[in-house]
Symmetry: C2
Subunit: 242 residues, 2 copies
């Protein structure tokens, strides 16, 4: 795995952590803020290390699961362990290779917006590890949520994890919310990229929303938020089709 | 310590690690390479955690020590513990405040190039934690080494730690050496800055040299390399005035 694209910073981090047990996570935000939020360990965590919220999330998943942004596969592996068929999708070649190497049986390179092009209907979809954020921003969210509706059965469940961006007293984040507000954007709309050694990820939008904002965002889709399990700023939501 | 300048990324990292036990180190090189080389822990390490080389370094120090780039003071504290008077100099307000808070008695904001302006003659000067690198580049080295000569007694010792940049098989570093070579620069000349949350350090030159290159660099100064204690790529050198 020496030939990852230079943009696959996330994948290179996953590869090195998987192969050598040593790597670091650096996220750069477009206001110049640099963070090392969790480290690669979190992407390789096992259920014994999880909070209750994360156990709830995998319990809510049903049948054949589409794991959106599966990364190196921590949730996919736990779901397989529970007896589910799992299809993991991701855009990071490095993370996909690691997921396969760790035993995730079905990993495909697919943008969540094209999830409906995958053959077959899924009984549930998961956006875990804050991956509700992959909707990107308020404008793009309906398209993504529509793609997941098309990719799933009529009685499918969508399990989505997010973080309430307002649950902070960090002035750097509060200032960023204010900047977003001035642009008419949701406070938790982040423009970020991953950096890792010589790899520099593409700038992309990632969205953190409070549960009430998630309810508003899905209001014009077939999805509705039926349940929320919250632990401090983090929460997981169970969405069903109306 | 909430009012550090936005450029004091190193100091903000030291402050947070000192106050909260949690921070991270991000170094950005001018070719886009991003590293998290050691983490703040290294700057707070205690002698029990040191390699032999570092013990040799503090044993080589003599009398009243000028600790160049003292940071949060790990070497200054160990030198004080051994009975030395120590004057630490640094440019980071955050690191200086932490050093004082940890018990370093004399910490001054001073560029190494102006070390001769400090009152008094020092019996030795230390550039530890790879701080020989503060000479910046081959062109600037004579000025810095001259300033340290002026700041010290006639029989003073200079204890300098560095890293042999050629002792690597990391392709990203080898490519950077090649890039430097094409410019007529020493391979270990780095242009780097520290990033930490909302803080972005100034770009600056930092120089890693092999022991033989250190000998060449000091050839036109009053200093000469009298001893080297090397552990893999890292080494400490004892320099005396000719």
């Amino acid at each position: 795995m020496d030939d990852l694209p230079e943009s696959d910073a996330f994948g290179a981090m996953c590869r090195d952590y998987h192969e050598q047990g040593d790597a670091f996570e650096v996220i750069e935000r477009d206001d110049g803020f640099v963070d090392s939020p969790a480290g690669p360990e979190i992407y390789f965590s096992t259920p014994e290390q999880w909070d209750d919220r994360e156990h709830t999330a995998v319990e809510w998943a049903d049948g054949h699961v589409l794991d959106v942004g599966c990364g190196p596969g921590r949730h996919a592996l736990a779901l397989q362990e529970r007896g589910h068929d799992v299809t993991g999708i991701d855009l990071s070649p490095g993370a996909m290779a690691v997921a396969r190497d760790r035993g995730v049986g079905d990993v495909r390179r697919c943008d969540v917006a094209e999830a409906a092009d995958l053959d077959g209907q899924f009984d549930s979809a998961t956006m875990l590890g804050n991956n509700f954020g992959l909707v990107g921003n308020a404008e793009r969210a309906p398209e993504i949520l529509g793609a997941l509706a098309d990719a799933t059965t009529d009685d499918a469940t969508l399990v989505a994890e997010s973080l309430d961006p307002l649950d902070t007293d960090d002035q750097a984040h509060l200032d960023y919310h204010e900047r977003n507000h001035d642009r008419g954007w949701l406070p938790g709309r982040l423009r970020i990229r991953t950096r890792y050694r010589r790899y520099t990820g593409e700038w992309h939008d990632y969205l953190h929303v409070a549960p009430e904002t998630m309810r508003e965002l899905v209001a014009d889709t077939v999805w509705s938020v039926e349940d929320v399990d919250r632990e401090e700023a983090l929460y997981v939501a169970r969405l069903e089709k109306a």
